[in-house]
Symmetry: C2
DNA sequence: CTTAGTGCAAAACCTTTGCAACTCT
DNA sequence: AGAGTTGCAAAGGTTTTGCACTAAG
């Protein structure tokens, strides 16, 4: 078990250091938005989600700032910009480079997103590189279906 | 080698039969839009792409009709609605149920989309079903990177 | 005939941009 | 002090909707 404090110490400080290093300013808005992701670790927040969260305590923060901050954090590799097919971008903390990728199981009924770790795909990447000459940078796997709960409650699937 | 005529006979007639069966009308607009996908088999068309294609010979067809038809065809399982992260939906013919899935290699430089067939993922699906109790209906794999051409022409990757 | 489908224009929705005011460093 | 950042409002791009009109069955 980890304590939030520890995470904050190691992870957020790292983020802030990265901003400082690249000569971006450490504005309160940016800190607040990063905090929002820590408070919602497991979720995949859209820009509007973030805006609603930070608005509760900081109604002065504008939506455009949220968008600009998310773009910046994605560019720095801190957040990962993804798309679950609802035609809006969602963001989550980018897994460390040396970590295994995690993927997403998306329930077609309740829209819950379950994370799933697996490294079966590493061998697929090697295959692609060899067979097609494609230099793989990243991959995303989305699996659609019905989660345990919904599967049990639905008759018609 | 196949002839286009044969495909049309077997595939389009099947689509039109499905529409008739579900009591949807076989309007000229719908036929024209289906034809546009046959003329662009290998591509992943957005609604606007389709609109531009059909407008050449049929400028009277409205954009809203294109959207409505694409929605309908996706709902019937004839087209597959996908999203390559450019925040617009793209469509392609839905692979037959018993076919292997194909996946997409997306070049981060020239945005070309290369299709890739593989069934490594079948075993992953079984794993998910067992480990998490998730009933898998479909999956999508997107691989981002640089295609052979761009890899050779770029210094800085 | 009757109801689904169409075309147009307007609205809705998410995201980006221009600009004056502001604030981190 | 000065460059980067913000908030607001307006604009941009994609998709959806309302409505009168048309056409397939």
């Amino acid at each position: 078990m980890w304590k939030l404090g520890d995470l904050w110490m190691s992870y957020v400080k790292e983020i802030l250091a990265l901003l400082r290093e690249k000569e971006y300013k450490l504005t309160p808005q940016r800190k607040i938005i990063i905090q929002a992701f820590f408070d919602n670790m497991e979720k995949h927040l859209s820009a509007e989600d973030v805006f609603n969260i930070v608005s509760q305590d900081h109604p002065e923060i504008g939506l455009a700032t949220v968008y600009r901050t998310l773009d910046l954090l994605a560019e720095l590799g801190i957040l990962k910009k993804m798309n679950f097919g609802d035609n809006k971008f969602r963001y989550e903390f980018c897994p460390e480079k040396d970590n295994h990728h995690h993927h997403h199981l998306i329930c077609l009924n309740c829209n819950k997103v379950i994370e799933f770790e697996d490294d079966l795909l590493e061998s697929l990447e090697a295959l692609i590189a060899k067979r097609i000459g494609f230099h793989v940078v990243d991959h995303q796997l989305k699996v659609f279906g019905f989660c345990k709960n919904c599967k049990e409650n639905l008759q018609d699937i």
